[in-house]
């Protein structure tokens, strides 16, 4: 008798594959998204590694904070963050229990955040106004067109993924295309949630951000906290950990911090092996072997796979240098930069 899984393999349904029109439409939609995401924040972040004078100026700008006029308690926000908040749609749901649960990246040009109330969830996205027509056309072609609905003072176009309870509303707000997406029992329920969206002032909006969001002014402090309990190689410069003028979530900042330390150890390990310095290689491998207990990675482990990947490299350094779980023969040297996001030194 053959193995059940093998029998199932033989029962694999025949597939025809996509026709030319489907490929063309999907490619066009992807390219429209690519074109609509001009100047994403990670592109600006990468600039920090290119021009040293610009780095100094940019980092200096990050620590400048401003106090909003008329704010009695003197709450200070990063200047760059205020610029985002002043420009972008500042939308919250005007109903009890709703809060911002995710705001992992945003800048003046592009942003995403999630609002939730128990099991209810609404994903908000803002993009440049220039992509509005493409966004609507694409949805008219792919989704059920449910007409219009009021949303934050605008008339939003309302759509539903065919056969689902997955609704999307798209509208123009000043220089932005705004998209709201969520599951709802029916179109009326989604319309009701949309109708509760309202725009708030800068300070209210900034105050609504979740604790996991790290505003630029706090990044240095948070980075130092994340380094606690991590052995760093001699000469490690924590100020070189990439800074950003965009809002970050702890997970992403944690990946930068743990990755910077891991990259430094890996580079020492590679250098020591090349020079035949067994003690140096052992020291680096031993330091990386402690990564299983690095608090920042333990914290991140439930949220994504970055810790697991880093631990694979730590394991490889303590054995023969071949990364476990990768393709046969995949070595630390060949792949660590891409895998862990190491910058070239």
């Amino acid at each position: 008798m053959r193995d059940e899984i093998e029998l199932l393999r033989d029962a694999r349904p025949r597939s025809v594959g996509p026709n030319r029109e489907v490929v063309g439409a999907a490619r066009a939609a992807l390219l429209a998204d690519i074109a609509g995401m001009r100047r994403p924040w990670w592109r600006r972040r990468r600039l920090f590694g290119i021009a040293a004078p610009a780095v100094a100026a940019a980092v200096a700008a990050l620590v400048v904070t401003v106090t909003l006029s008329g704010k009695s308690d003197g709450q200070a926000w990063a200047a760059a963050l205020v610029r985002v908040a002043e420009a972008a749609p500042r939308l919250l749901v005007d109903e009890p229990g709703w809060e911002v649960t995710r705001a992992d990246e945003f800048s003046v040009d592009y942003g995403e955040m999630t609002l939730a109330n128990g099991g209810q969830r609404l994903d908000l996205k803002w993009l440049l106004a220039a992509v509005y027509e493409d966004a609507v056309d694409k949805r008219v072609a792919e989704m059920d067109d449910l007409g219009t609905a009021p949303a934050a003072g605008a008339d939003a176009r309302l759509f539903r993924y065919p056969g689902t309870k997955d609704y999307v509303a798209v509208w123009l707000r000043g220089d932005y295309t705004v998209e709201a997406r969520g599951l709802a029992a029916d179109a009326d329920a989604f319309r009701a949630t949309l109708a509760s969206l309202h725009e708030v002032d800068v300070d209210t909006w900034l105050s609504a951000l979740p604790e996991s969001v790290i505003v630029p002014a706090r990044q240095a402090e948070v980075i130092q906290g994340m380094l606690a309990g991590i052995p760093v190689p001699p000469g490690f410069d924590s100020t070189a950990i990439r800074a950003s003028d965009a809002v970050r979530e702890r997970y992403h900042l944690g990946a930068d911090v743990a990755g910077a330390v891991a990259c430094a150890w890996i580079e020492r390990w590679i250098g020591a092996r090349e020079e035949g310095d067994k003690a140096g290689a052992r020291e680096a491998a031993d330091a990386m072997a402690t990564s299983r207990t690095w608090p920042v990675l333990v914290e991140m482990d439930d949220e994504g796979d970055y810790p697991e990947v880093l631990w694979q490299y730590a394991a490889a350094m303590s054995s023969d240098g071949e990364v476990p779980g990768g393709r046969p023969g995949m070595t630390v040297e060949e792949t660590y930069r891409n895998a862990l996001g190491c910058r070239r030194t």
């Binding site: 008798m1 053959r2 193995d3 059940e4 899984i5 093998e6 029998l7 199932l8 393999r9 033989d10 029962a11 694999r12 349904p13 025949r14 597939s15 025809v16 594959g17 996509p18 489907v22 490929v23 439409a25 999907a26 490619r27 939609a29 992807l30 390219l31 998204d33 690519i34 995401m37 990670w42 592109r43 990468r46 792919e142 993924y161 065919p162 056969g163 689902t164 997955d166 994504g304 796979d305 970055y306 990947v309 694979q312 990364v323 779980g325 990768g326 393709r327 792949t335 891409n338 895998a339």
Partner: protein, 202 residues
Amino acid sequence: MGETRSDAELIGRASRKPELFGVVFDRHFATIHRYLERRVGRDGADELAGEVFRIAFEQRRRFRPVYESALPWLYGLATNLLLKRWRGDARAARALARLQAASLNGDGELEAAEDRLSMAQTRTQLLEALAGLEPGDRDVVVLVAWEELTYEEVASALDIPLGTVRSRLNRARRAFRELFPDSGDEPVTLIGKPHERIRDEG
């Protein structure tokens, strides 16, 4: 130029040159479409395949190139999208029913009519059993049996530990065995890499 680069390199460079992501699309769109077609039928695949790549582009900074190919990651995104859109949806059941009615994948070999009937019945039973699995177990089985991913690739795609892949497969196998009790007489095998059989320690 971009054609000779690995997916990992293209996705890494796409941060500065986003249009390079188009090469990743060209390489893998048909594969992901076929996967979705096997799961939910052609209409569903037409609806979802493009969205997989748009999600992939949006989340490209989360891509960790444990493998040079982006396929395991794309399979994972496609599977997550299926769960989000189709779980608990009557469309999924209808799609699987259509698959059951589809023709055998016989690759031109002409079997005797009786054999073909028997194979069709077996196939229908298998697909029914597959439809009855827990969604997480079904994902693992399909990725191993139909898409021929290694255990490690499935673990990476679904962001689950390797041990979970094995336990889900074993659970699925037990469910299938109820349909085909004779299989218990043979040593239990696990399917690893395509065409590689690994003896189960259990």
